[in-house]
């Protein structure tokens, strides 16, 4: 039966994430953006909330909660409201953990999941995006060539979060036209982490280029074993994660510019009391809610294990447009003040522009 009420448990998680976003992330996000560094202590504090390990069964070292895309989506929105770079950093191990949890062989789950359920934060990541024009996750240039006991990987990747510190990678590649994923451990010969990237936004998140040169992986490291895995589902989980983060970033920008518009006086009245400004804000509020609801619907489908490709793709396209519209307007409403780095809206605009590029960089 149609309902828009998160469960009590979800509400608790939401308020926990909200509090963390407000008390921790919002205190330091500007410094982090300027310095490109996130203090380890903040990541550790976030890790202690068990956001990822709580959805991994006890058999694999987790605390045995249910893995739910809706819950993940609710968490992602709250955290991204605090700061997108930190959110993507905190949730980065999920890029490795969730595909293994959902699609890995029993051996893979037993071997690798406990490593991402450690008390201490340990980076694990995934490499999907490739540094060329016309990149399409469904036709990757990175190749996997089968040989007697495994595969040989070749190709270039980029936007790989935390590649320099990660112990575990999932590498997405094409084998004879079909999509495959491989678990690659740090130090594997032929896996080379390049320079840290310099991006327009998410500047506090360390992302890297990655090069695979005759990188040999044993056949038991093929995600899901011989049967392979469901790449559509991974993409859909990524679309949902990113759409909810886009909602969080947009909400931050909306709230900030709304409050500013109520304070800022021009021609004797707060600018919010003029329809030119008020209607911008009204549309922002509507589009944020609309995106969130569409995202819940897509996540709900994922949780029911139904094909969510259409819903997830629609909401992702919608969220990509929504977040840029809203963060841009937040800057516009504040005029010159929106353009200076004293206020956060320019940062949110830079971060917001990235969502259309970020496919595969977050997952629920």
């Amino acid at each position: 039966m149609i309902s828009f009420n998160p469960t009590e448990e979800q509400q608790m998680i939401i308020s926990m994430a909200k509090q963390f976003a407000n008390d921790e992330m919002r205190k330091i996000y500007r410094e982090c953006d300027e310095s490109g560094e996130i203090p380890a202590s903040v990541i550790d504090t976030a890790w202690k909330m068990g956001l990822i390990s709580s959805s991994i069964p006890e058999d694999y070292g987790g605390s045995g909660g249910e893995h739910s895309a809706i819950t993940g989506s609710l968490i992602s929105e709250e955290l991204a409201w605090g700061d997108l770079s930190m959110t993507m950093h905190i949730l980065c191990p999920a890029l490795f953990a969730y595909p293994v949890l959902e699609m890995g062989t029993e051996t893979q789950k037993k071997k690798y999941l406990p490593l991402v359920c450690d008390e201490k934060y340990k980076a694990a990541t995934a490499a999907l995006i490739e540094p060329h024009f016309g990149f399409d996750p469904y036709s990757l240039s990175t190749t996997a060539r089968p040989e007697s006991n495994g595969y040989v990987l070749n190709g270039e990747k980029c936007y790989v979060p935390l590649a320099a510190e990660a112990d575990l990678f999932i590498i997405y590649a094409t084998e004879n036209g079909s999509s495959q994923a491989f678990i690659v451990e740090k130090g594997t010969k032929g896996l080379e982490v390049g320079e840290r990237e310099k991006n327009m936004g998410i500047k506090a998140l360390a992302t890297y280029e990655l090069s695979l040169q005759n990188c040999r992986v044993p056949k038991e490291n093929q995600l899901g074993g011989q049967n392979g895995y469901d790449f559509d589902r991974i993409m859909n989980c990524s679309r949902v994660a990113l759409s909810s983060m886009a909602t969080g970033v947009a909400k931050a920008a909306f709230e900030y510019s709304r409050d500013y518009a109520k304070e800022r006086v021009a021609f004797g009245e707060p600018i919010a009391s003029r329809q030119a400004i008020a209607f911008m804000l009204a549309e922002m509020a509507i589009e944020i809610d609309a995106t969130r609801l569409m995202n819940w619907e897509a996540a709900w489908r994922l949780d029911r294990r139904e094909d969510a490709t259409k819903e997830a793709s629609l909401v992702k396209a919608y969220a990509d447009d929504m977040v840029i519209m809203i963060t841009d307007r937040a800057v516009q409403i504040m005029g010159g003040h929106g353009y200076v780095r004293e206020h956060p809206v320019e940062l949110w605009l830079r971060n917001g522009r990235g969502f259309v590029t970020f496919d595969g960089m977050a997952i629920v």
Binding site: M1, D136, P137, D232, S273, A285, A290
Partner: protein, 398 residues
Amino acid sequence: MIDFELTPEQQEGIKSAHEAVKELIRPVSRYYDEHEHESPQELIDQIWRKRSEGIFNMGMDITSALRIEELCWGDAGLFLCIPGPSLGGAAVFASGTKEQLQRFLGSFNEGKPKWGAMAITEPGCGSDTSAITATATRDGDEWVLNGEKIFVTMGKRALEDSDGFVVVWATVDKSAGRAGMKSFVVPAGTPGMRVEKLEKKLGIKASDTATIIFDNCRIPFENILGSPEVKKVDKSETKGFKGAMATFDATRPIVAAMAIGVGRAALDFVKETLEKEDIKIRYSTPRQKLTVLERDIIEMEANHKAAKLLTLRALWMMSQLQPNNLEASMAKAKAGLAVTKITQKAVELMGPLGYSRKYLLEKWMRDAKINDIFEGTGQINMLIVARRILNYSRDQLK
């Protein structure tokens, strides 16, 4: 728990409504668009005979809204011709007493088909309903109504073609502003009330849009909805207006559901045409690799979904007895504009098929537009949303 699963009852309701409109409504859709003001009597009789099946029963819950979407997928103008208390009924529901509910709505399923209507708009005021000039003067056990109301949807059907009623908004005390605004139920056949003219419209031509004149029209005292007392309150307060507003919170999501039905008709037509041409929409392909056509379709579908989910949320909140003024206006503003754009884009995309009256698409574009106008224009709903999110009164945000 967040859930989007339709109940078996809802699924059945959608299915039976869809089949009914395909069988009964779509075949005569073009005819009544081209024969404005001609009564679809045969259709009304068929619908009336089927009334026990529940397909055409209206309510303001999610199940009804889903059915209404299907009915308007069939034809939004003919949808309005379905017998029932309609917006007038919504007003009685929102602020009537139990006795009034029984008296005005109790016999709607019996005898001959009846319609209800709502009369707010006047020649000199539309969105600014506080500027209403129609008056209601107390005279002993009666109210005497005077004034002119325009754009009364189904006014003629309610008052001339059936024993229905109209809910009229009038002021009992002009000096009291909004607080003096009250609503009154005027049954068909009341002396002093007449239908003056019918509008010729851009779309929804099968439905009548009437001008109604009240000339010393007398109704019983107990036909007032809500309290007859005028509470003189601070100018910024809107207490006396509660009735109209409560009605809108209930009806706006329903109008949004109507819009969504028309929008889906257009979308379905476009998608069927593309299928015949063997054109597939590549939903999961990166945007920079999509054709303009694919991007347009994805944008249309996403906006349609956005409007629908906002609408379901507003209705769900009402079912949970949560205040939904903000969410109702969000849904109405979004749905009205979204389907206006979707249908206009659909005509563009279909080229010669879109513009031709050989197909219904051009009609849906004309029909869709009303949803951005009646029950509060898109702009009025945006104003309400803006006031709500800013926590501003009507004086702070004009």
